[in-house]
């Protein structure tokens, strides 16, 4: 139990240190914090790239029409420090994503949080919002 608590505290430290906004990104130039999106769909592709990780999901609307959405997260290292691993999310996984939509109205958004449907696990998206 002691070891587990220590892990939690260290993990929490990493999580909190990942909290503040990134200076890296021109969030405000690309995304609109006033256009929140929350979408559930199936992961189709992941790109662990610097400076930003991207993934894509197929979202089905009420009429059955499928739309592919792209989501930007922080750099792979920011995600690793926030608790992600390269196996946290795979194509075929069902996820719910909360974030801010692209200003140009495209089906892209900047991620605040990802929830994995299979486990209920929530992962911080390394959002650069706030800059």
């Amino acid at each position: 139990m002691r070891t587990r608590l220590a892990i939690i505290i260290v993990g929490l430290g990493l999580l909190l240190s990942a909290g503040p906004a990134l200076a890296h990104h021109a969030f405000a130039a690309e995304y609109d914090a006033k256009k929140p999106v929350k979408l559930t769909g199936t992961v189709t592709k992941l790109e662990w790239l610097n400076p930003h990780t991207w993934f894509y999901i197929d979202v089905k609307d009420d009429s059955g029409k499928v739309t592919n959405w792209g989501f930007e997260m922080g750099s792979p290292n920011i995600l690793l420090r926030a608790g992600w691993t390269r196996n946290s999310m795979k194509p075929g996984d069902v996820v719910t994503v909360e974030g801010s939509r692209a200003k140009d109205g495209s089906n892209n958004a900047n991620v605040k949080e990802v929830t994995l449907a299979s486990t209920g696990q929530q992962l911080f998206g390394g959002s650069s919002q706030g800059q």
Partner: protein
């Protein structure tokens, strides 16, 4: 799990978040993200003691070595401090205004080009490592795997050097303050996240102090007569130590990312 709930309450973090961290902590340890390092002073319960005295090198100077990251703050946007307007020559003022109005759309780092000095140290969430050796202090920036060398062997700055992104740096100790002079810059980097510009006439003086094991502070004086009629100084910038961890490789693959740069 009573313990976990108690900790979560004390820290005012939802239990769900704690559970998530718990789930992740295992794999993370395999990445050198979290490993006890022998040089870390500890409190009786084994946690890093960040308020312990700063370490010193055998010659008695403070040792600035460690992995650091900037505390989030408005100075990330404006080195002079929030709301402070630095007097600029008209061309520089116009360029700075354009950078602010376009919300940082043309930031060099969005195209894998380097952050400026000192901006490369100000990317919160992306740390840098200082390795202090006799004769040289090396700064390893995690972002883009970049580095700076600050020579402390008594050499002078080069005369008429080939301009470079990070310039040429020499350092010396004034008591417990490490003073770094840098010149020989290539134009094009931003001094801060807001985009204060500079020219090849830029001469920087950074002053570093390590008040304790877990803290590093720096002020920088900016002297660039082609961009600014008068030299000016930054606010004090605070860095926090990331104990018991290592840098991670970070190479920029922006060519693949660039297609996503939508915005206006």
């Amino acid at each position: 799990m009573t313990f976990v709930t108690g900790a979560a309450k004390r820290l005012q973090v939802p239990v769900a978040t704690m559970a998530m961290v718990l789930v992740m902590a295992g794999p993370a340890a395999a990445q050198w993200l979290n490993l006890p390092l022998p040089g870390t002073p500890r409190t009786p319960d084994g946690k890093p003691n960040l308020t312990a005295p700063a370490p010193r090198t055998p010659d008695g100077k403070p040792d600035l070595s460690g992995i650091w990251h900037a505390e989030a703050g408005r100075y990330l946007d404006n080195l002079a401090g929030e709301g402070v307007e630095v007097p600029m020559h008209p061309w520089a003022a116009a360029l700075y205004k354009q950078r602010l109005e376009s919300l940082g759309r043309d930031k060099p780092q969005l195209h894998c080009m380097p952050h400026g000095v000192p901006d490369a140290m100000l990317v919160s969430n992306i740390p840098f490592k200082i390795v202090q050796t006799p004769g040289e202090l090396v700064v390893l920036y995690e972002e883009f795997n970049m580095y700076r060398q600050i020579f402390t062997d008594g050499r002078s700055l080069p005369k008429d050097p080939n301009p470079t992104w990070y310039g040429y740096s020499i350092g010396k100790w004034e008591g417990n303050t490490f003073v770094v002079e840098t010149a020989g810059f290539k134009e094009g980097t931003w001094l801060d996240n807001g985009g204060h510009p500079h020219t090849d006439a830029l001469h920087l003086t950074e002053r570093f102090r390590r008040p304790n094991f877990g803290s590093l502070e720096m002020e920088v004086a900016i002297d660039d007569s082609k961009a600014y009629p008068k030299a000016w100084k930054s606010v004090t910038i605070h860095f926090k130590l990331l104990p018991d961890t290592e840098l991670l490789e970070h190479l920029c693959e922006n060519e693949k990312d660039a297609v996503h740069l939508n915005g206006k």
